[in-house]
């Protein structure tokens, strides 16, 4: 069994630092060699950078995430191409293109399931989707948002949509029917951060509607860029989600289309967690050296999942800070961190930003 297979088969939050370093370091070295042998542009980049094979998580060469906008990077023959993911690509921006074969797509689904069920359990709960039904309707061309919602739908059942097609207004009738049908059962809600805030929580406030979902879990993602502009912090978002929508547990996650599957979920203690098959490294923007606890820098993400494209080690355009390792009060092992925002001059992106609000 390869180190990658071993990692992907193990529970997502059980490995302590020593064992994780050994396994993930070996898996990443396997992946670097695999991509160098199967993706000529990746091999050229390594050669130009003078990379020599080395083991260890931090020794893994990294690509800037925006390279996936500029180059079609794949480590599979075209015949094995199963699906191409594209990032949101707001008007005027070039989207990333991520090439998947069946094996990598399945590894993504398994990894995401392992992480998500750690927070909502294996039983599929009644699910409220904080979006409109049309977002998953056109099966030939999903937006990044549609694909994300569809992926999450696996973990729920009796799906209902909280917003109406067309004007994105609250579908009060659908929400009430959902609440009545599942009264007393813990439900699961999912949506993109900006959509949840703008079209759900703010709309509930405007209409003075208060909901109650005891034991419920809300998971949301897609980036804070637009909410930062409106000065909405994670704490404020959570408080409103709790008081207004009655969502008892609220978890944000950090992830990107370039590494689907290895998401970093916010735990009960409010920290983002690296699962066993992925990790986060904070680097200095001045000389790229690895920074320690409490030092602010650029976020690098590594993942054992990407086999069909060379995306196992990426330098993001986000700033972050490590908050601990194997010591979170929630009991999950691995590094924890916070995301502080975009680096200056980085282009604006994020799945939930794709629905640009009309002038209010």
């Amino acid at each position: 069994m390869s180190a990658r297979d071993e990692l992907l088969a193990s529970p997502p939050f059980a490995l302590a630092v020593a064992e994780k370093s050994r396994l993930l370091g070996a898996a990443l070295a396997e992946l670097t060699a695999h991509h160098a042998a199967n993706c000529p542009p990746f091999a050229s980049i390594l050669a130009a950078a003078g990379h020599s094979p080395a083991s260890g998580i931090e020794a893994t060469p990294f690509l800037p995430v925006r390279l996936f906008k500029e180059l079609a990077l794949k480590s599979i023959p075209d015949a094995d191409l199963f699906k191409t993911l594209t990032s949101s690509g707001t008007t005027g921006q070039v989207p990333s293109r991520i090439f998947l074969d069946v094996g990598t797509a399945q590894a993504q689904a398994r990894a995401l399931a392992a992480i998500t069920t750690s927070f909502i359990g294996k039983d599929r709960r009644p699910m409220l989707i904080i979006d409109h039904p049309g977002v998953v309707k056109d099966r030939t061309s999903f937006s990044a948002r549609g694909a994300g919602i569809l992926g999450m739908m696996t973990y729920g059942r009796a799906h209902a949509y909280a917003l109406r097609d067309g004007d994105m207004a609250l579908d009060v009738e659908a929400i009430r029917a959902f609440a009545d049908a599942h009264r007393g059962k813990p439900i699961f809600a999912f949506g993109f951060t900006f959509m949840v805030w703008k079209y759900f929580l703010q709309a509930l406030e405007a209409a003075d509607i208060t909901l109650d979902f005891p034991g419920s879990v809300l998971i949301h993602s897609g980036g804070w860029k637009k909410l930062e502009d409106e000065a909405v912090s994670n704490e404020h978002f959570k408080a409103v989600a709790r008081q207004r929508a009655g969502f008892e547990h609220v978890h944000n996650f950090y992830g990107m289309v370039e590494q689907v599957g290895s998401v970093f979920m916010e735990c009960e203690a409010g920290r983002l967690h690296a699962p066993s098959f992925a990790d986060v490294i904070i680097r200095s923007p001045l000389d790229w050296r690895v920074l320690g606890l409490g030092e602010e820098g650029i976020i690098q993400v590594v993942s054992a999942i990407p086999m069909s494209y060379p995306g196992h080690s990426l330098l993001t355009e986000d700033r972050g800070i490590l908050t601990g390792e194997d010591d979170c009060p929630c009991g999950r092992m691995g590094k924890t961190f916070r995301v502080l925002g975009r680096i200056p001059a980085a282009e604006m992106r994020g799945c939930s930003d794709t629905h640009t609000a009309r002038a209010a």
């Binding site: 399945q106 399931a113 998500t116 294996k122 599929r124 099966r139 696996t154 973990y155």
Partner: protein
């Protein structure tokens, strides 16, 4: 109760004759991720069971679905 082939055929909107053991998830355009969720709901309704997340992800072919249903004491 409908046959497994009938549940597949109706959920994926395909010919019942094409529902063979070797038919794999994502191998035909009709069995995509949206149809997969329709199939899950149809299986649950038809057999009166509730599949868990791991089962849904493991449902990679008709044969595999039959194997998973057996765990729930469903002979399909």
């Amino acid at each position: 109760m409908k046959s497994l082939a009938a549940v597949f055929a109706e959920s994926l909107m395909i010919d019942p004759a094409s529902v063979v053991d070797g038919l794999a998830y994502q191998s035909i355009k009709e069995w995509d991720s949206v149809a997969h969720m329709v199939l899950v709901t149809a299986l649950e309704d038809n057999y009166g069971i509730m599949l868990d997340t791991d089962d849904i992800i493991a449902m990679s072919s008709v044969a595999k679905v039959r194997e998973i249903l057996a765990k729930y004491d469903v002979a399909a």
